[in-house]
Symmetry: C2
Subunit: 280 residues, 2 copies
């Protein structure tokens, strides 16, 4: 187990916003993540809510833009948000696209060279990061939830559906809900996974929910003015699969909202309360 190093910390709503880095076993390089520790964590272990960010984002995005700390401080939730890809060692071509490589790990374990050596974000998010959090931070055992936005909404849904014993709650903002059927997902899956369509299906949230519903309700918020809804997000495919498999789904179409953090912050409180209720 590598140790984690505190890069910076800032008192915030009586708790503390921290930024860590560490040498990752999975990505074989330095990784960064952010943690918000609510005031309650000074005297007791608290539930942990993981947030996966979207394309081009970093471990700072959620901490700066999502406006989650205030209510997390009230509810006693720890918030953990990792970076969205390895950043080092550099891989040839990793900065050529904004939607592939750096900032675009897509939460999969790559099988294709040269990505397979480092781009192992699925194992990083579902195994290594929780182990680090559990070993180094005041996290309550068996009380973890996961949520995310866009590419991170895909990641959250897929990670929870594939690991229902590891996550007790899941929600998403404007997720890439059926990545095998949209251009962003097809580009990422081709590059990281090659032409093995079975591997694609393993990482496709709509496919996952069809096979085995999550044992608790899923909350999804989706803006109707989201510029990516029709071509990239395809939430209706997830919704149809959920209906078929009996998944409890609270899909809320939010009139006029777009794809960004002004949308996310507006409904952040509802998501935090959704998780807090299931993590109690």
């Amino acid at each position: 187990m590598s140790t984690i190093q505190l890069s910076s910390e800032h008192v915030c709503y009586g708790g503390v916003q921290q930024f860590f880095k560490h040498d990752s076993r999975e990505t074989r390089g330095a990784m960064k993540f952010s943690v918000y520790l609510p005031p309650q964590s000074r005297t007791a272990r608290v539930p942990v809510l993981y947030y996966l960010a979207g394309l081009t984002c970093t471990e700072e995005t959620f901490a700066i833009k999502a406006h989650a700390q205030q209510l997390a401080a009230e509810l006693g939730l720890m918030l953990v948000s990792p970076d969205t890809s390895p950043r080092e060692p550099r891989v040839p071509g990793d900065a050529d696209s904004w939607d592939f490589g750096q900032g675009a790990g897509f939460y999969v374990d790559a099988t294709q060279a040269p990505w397979s050596a480092n781009y192992r974000m699925y194992s990083y998010v579902t195994r290594e990061l929780p182990e680090l959090v559990s070993a180094n931070l005041p996290a309550l055992a068996h009380a973890a939830g996961i949520f995310g936005h866009s590419m991170g909404g895909h990641g959250a849904l897929m990670c929870a559906l594939r690991n229902p014993a590891r996550y007790r709650s899941v929600s998403a903002f404007a997720p890439i809900a059926a990545p095998q059927h949209c251009p962003w997902g097809q580009k990422a899956f081709s590059g990281y996974l090659g032409e093995d369509r079975q591997a694609w299906r393993e990482y496709d949230a709509a496919e996952c929910v069809l096979r085995a519903p999550f044992p608790r309700p899923i909350l999804i918020d989706q803006g109707t003015a989201d510029q990516y809804l029709a071509e990239q997000l395809l939430v209706e495919r997830f919704s149809a699969a959920a209906a078929k498999s009996g998944q409890q789904l609270n899909l809320r179409m939010q009139p006029g909202y777009d794809h960004g953090y002004y949308f996310i912050q507006t409904f952040m409180a509802d998501h935090l309360r959704h998780h807090a209720a299931l993590l109690r």
Copy 2:
């Protein structure tokens, strides 16, 4: 009166976060500012609260980092935040320092060449911007407040103290409270105002409050772990001057908080309520 052009807008907490640009009379170039319109402004004019940001910031900083929209939507406050300096036309040397020139207008009207042609942020903030807001947005007349952070805290205090009829409320986060006595202020005032110490005093908040207190209470929050407190901010000089002149001042030293937006967001609600009560 130049017209303002909407650059982008995002629905947020039932209201809308907007970004505008326009040709400025005072700075003789394009200027940008952000506006949050609360839901109440669809049917009625609402009070306006101006926010002045600190060194290196832009018109986006407050909108992204300060977490003010949620409560502004409840309280029915319009939030307006300008850029922190002219950006064009370019002035030779305007990007040589992070604490002078671009991103560091210091809310003064420069008298020294080459700055005097464009760096007129005092007149921009106190006259041109309110005229634009009044003419183009659903602003209630005679109900304006002003607040800010660091360099913008200096700006807010100084603008309100010099224009008590124009602003009905004022507050600040970690303001540069006596700029004529600190390195940041001395660098800015020398560059923009030259060696005319009388002009320096006109823009020094501690000097302004000594001459004539603001007719309503001033709220200031200051973190005790702020890395700039001792050398640059000098809030004790403002506090001493306020005591001498009879200014009502609620100066709150916040244990453990630093100079950044994790501090600001923590006490944002208190500031919005302070203004809302005085603007009603």
